[in-house]
Symmetry: D2
Subunit: 340 residues, 4 copies
Amino acid sequence: MIQGIFTPNLVPFKPDGSINEEELRRMVNWLIEKGITGLYPNGSTGEFIRLSFEERKRVIRVVVEENRGRVPILAGAAETNLAMILEACRAYADLGCTAVSVTGPYYYKVSQDSIEHFFRELARLSPIDIVLYNIPQFSNEISVPVVTRLALDCPRIVGIKDSSRDFPRFLNTLHAIKPQRPEFSCLIGCEEILFPSLQMGGDGGTIATSGVVPEVVMKLYRQFLAGNLAEAQRIQFKLLDLINAMLYGTNFPEGFRAGMSLRGFNLGTTRQLLSPREKSDLEDIRAKIACILADCGFSEAAGACRRPAAASKGALATPTDLTVSVDDVVKDVMAKLRQA
Amino acid sequence: MIQGIFTPNLVPFKPDGSINEEELRRMVNWLIEKGITGLYPNGSTGEFIRLSFEERKRVIRVVVEENRGRVPILAGAAETNLAMILEACRAYADLGCTAVSVTGPYYYKVSQDSIEHFFRELARLSPIDIVLYNIPQFSNEISVPVVTRLALDCPRIVGIKDSSRDFPRFLNTLHAIKPQRPEFSCLIGCEEILFPSLQMGGDGGTIATSGVVPEVVMKLYRQFLAGNLAEAQRIQFKLLDLINAMLYGTNFPEGFRAGMSLRGFNLGTTRQLLSPREKSDLEDIRAKIACILADCGFSEAAGACRRPAAASKGALATPTDLTVSVDDVVKDVMAKLRQA
Amino acid sequence: MIQGIFTPNLVPFKPDGSINEEELRRMVNWLIEKGITGLYPNGSTGEFIRLSFEERKRVIRVVVEENRGRVPILAGAAETNLAMILEACRAYADLGCTAVSVTGPYYYKVSQDSIEHFFRELARLSPIDIVLYNIPQFSNEISVPVVTRLALDCPRIVGIKDSSRDFPRFLNTLHAIKPQRPEFSCLIGCEEILFPSLQMGGDGGTIATSGVVPEVVMKLYRQFLAGNLAEAQRIQFKLLDLINAMLYGTNFPEGFRAGMSLRGFNLGTTRQLLSPREKSDLEDIRAKIACILADCGFSEAAGACRRPAAASKGALATPTDLTVSVDDVVKDVMAKLRQA
Amino acid sequence: MIQGIFTPNLVPFKPDGSINEEELRRMVNWLIEKGITGLYPNGSTGEFIRLSFEERKRVIRVVVEENRGRVPILAGAAETNLAMILEACRAYADLGCTAVSVTGPYYYKVSQDSIEHFFRELARLSPIDIVLYNIPQFSNEISVPVVTRLALDCPRIVGIKDSSRDFPRFLNTLHAIKPQRPEFSCLIGCEEILFPSLQMGGDGGTIATSGVVPEVVMKLYRQFLAGNLAEAQRIQFKLLDLINAMLYGTNFPEGFRAGMSLRGFNLGTTRQLLSPREKSDLEDIRAKIACILADCGFSEAAGACRRPAAASKGALATPTDLTVSVDDVVKDVMAKLRQA
């Protein structure tokens, strides 16, 4: 049964744009040494969609090689047709992965009936266990009734990773499936509610933040397992600032890449181009993340910490209020000029 | 400080369409006797928008009269302009209500800046404490940064009732405000996550289900207060079936009205007309709710319980999969015909 | 049959917040003198939702009185329950209005089945003709199949005003209804596509811009009727800048209120509070609208025209790109400093 | 300059799931013989996302070969990173394609700033002209201001294909760009408004329906060019039924595949699996499309025409009302049984 904290690893790139396999291997070792439960390559955090099919298969091979059997591997296999998904399933089964994770179809809107039928076919044909990956922000939702029927009918489908941020949905999933199939794994993919999901009976999560501060996320998980709920709750709240700083104000997953670079990894340049202005904004965000990391005791990040001035702090601190006012900025600049 | 379970009471109507004040009074007494913490008239469950301004003021007066000071009253005052909201605030303050609840503006889309400015003005002028009411499904969201600034700047604004179903948002609200203003009340308005919200530091909720099964919701709350977390969690999961049955498959709040009628109240006909087909569907939903209530031990509902046939059960049981398949129906009909 | 350009008049307010009836009367006369086909009080542009029910009825009375039978009046009657809508219908019928306009229900999400049943009941009971008002941005959509069935079954329902901005939907409505009921009036409520809608067989529109530049909108309409399609098209494109300037960058309908004030009317302060920053932004938008009006030959607006600097021009000119760039602002400030 | 009707060809598959190249070649010849202006392989209709990169490149090669220079080819090149897009651009340039079409990024939400920067880079590096492909239903929107700046700054970007169904947006695009760069091609990708878009100054469209009834769509276009506006308008309305029948009630582009099969092509099975129920529903839709085609004079489709019974007709005829009523179905079944 799939349980615990799986880390959706980022992908480092070389200056020529190809995957930096050496750094990826170093990252795998570092994460395992820091104690994460399992690895989850080719997730959304791993920018699977910006890789070619060959590169995606290569990423899995590298991660498996470097893992050397130490932790279970959940391999993302969200290809765009059944034949390619099955090709990936066979390859990842041969490599010894624990299971594959497959999203609902993306790009087109597809009916729930088709999605259910698709997963039934996949379950029938796959040589490896399957984890449903629900992420309606980016791909077609897999509805709770469909998840429930698949869980109860298909032994090959062994769990769901739910990144929908919809906690009532997660509880309804637990409620519909667990009494009938307790070993069906319900993983949360929304970092902000990892601890509540564990408390309500969830089995763990795929937590992007665990790639940046594995020490902290694993501490939360261990405190929960030890029954130290108050401490686990305290860590959850403490993580919110870091999560918000990495999630908002830039294209996903740039904030997480910035965070990981502050832990000493060379991520290189993302494949989604950023404008010069966005690169500059990302520098500010990185400086802010550095401060949070430094406050968490990761001294390697302290050097990059730059406390923002009051005005820009407000602008960056909050998920739903990112608009910058011209007036405020002009006032800021004028004030600075007067000081100079 | 506003804490505990506030019941957003339904409004019973007479055959001529006017408010059935006698039944409303009986409802108020019944709820108080069942132990709910407070009353919340003129909420969304109370169909405030389908009443006239005069009727809304009358509902508050009736509830206050019948309450006779026994429980605190949070009075909905979501009028559509500042002058009318202030008129309501003055009236409800004179009646001795504890606070008023005000949504973001509805109908038009309005900027966060305007919403913040509006609540600042309201806080400046109101003679009664204000609870922000965030329900983005129906009205403009009040963003977390706006809520935070209002909470930190305006003593008159004493809490937020969050019906957004967005638990990460609720945690971010707690995290942003509680360390600086611990007595600011954070109430959840999403029944499915009442217990998790309490565990994470929430102060209670406005819970429509507490109007139908006050005994069960108050038991959950008391078990939580007593530290019996496992029991509170068990009740939360048990409530999910009832919540889903009342929320889905009919227009809100018809399912809750059906539930309350099964507890022995005469709700009369809603002001939102239902088609003949929908009335018939609602009968099926009512029969299903009756079974859940009977299973919960409310024997008064047992007589109305009709267990659905297998096929239609699937169609009704689930929030996001309400489509009826022609094939299934035809099969159903054919099966029935063969039996006949 | 309802045809032509109906003007959804704005509502002027006095400093004490009450309706400025004198100015409203002056506005009615001015619009009729400028040649608009009909008046449409209590529309979304007329901020009906921010008035009390008594004020809404008063607005209709004032408009009817001042009209003195010169033009047809389509009276908004989007109250929140059937009894109040019927009270409005009776009142507006008694006053001699041509028809009432009723939106789908707002606030709650309501099923299409309920909406259809509601309009059937309204059609059965109303003493005055009804125009369906589809504005899914603010209220529940009335779907094309529902509109079609209502049009074919209910003689009392004489038309639809479609503000959905969805032109395929408008064409499907025309296609479904006109062959069977040619006198059913299909009015467009989206200013940007008035001319295309006329060309495809629409009957006119409720056009907020016709409250600000009735001369221009009526010229477009007359050129269309005269078969001068190229000229009508030219005017439509010319209007786009004005429409965009009034629609974007501020809360609706502030831009239209700014435009009308530039034509010499005293609109007073809106009931939706604006923050100090938004008031200042609105000044910029007003200055821009003034330039467009001056360019159209309305010399009374010329004095208020302030051409924006290049950088801020970009920021305001476009509907979907209102974000302000820090870089641009810094450049602006630097440029100003160099000048000083 | 890219003008006229470009047909986004469907892709036929063999029983083993591979592309049926022979049938694809036959389709290309048929379309060219029927007079379409140009071909548009690897569009959304062509299910590019369900092909592998190698297959996408192969489709272009086959289409180019079979075309033998007869018509211009707009080649879809919406790969998921810049390197792969450039590889496609180089390949399609070498083959002699006229231009490539590239969507905004899909899967992740990406900022407008990044999207603009991405297209600037692509324009700088591409060896072939680029048409922006705006389809916000499936991928990130390319906002009007971004389109405008790209059009005015980048000679390599020669047009936009707008499938947003947002006609005000299309008019704003024309208005912003054409006065400054008249040869920038504005193509509509929404079949229902092809004629209005042409009348307002659009340059043509990528019209999936032209793959099924090229004779009709080309007649509309030629009537427009000849100035026979009334006739073009009549054809546009006539096409609505066919478009609706192919668009709604099944997953895109199954309805178009059904339509094309009725014209005598062997499309094979789509790569998006359909459930048994959906396959059966699609048979009904196909029968309905057959009737429309037969009514249009395409006698080859007449044999497959099955007029639906009254009740199910209503259920299928309409875009936004696809729910099936249990009552209706039961009535249907009962009626049939009585007949039997």
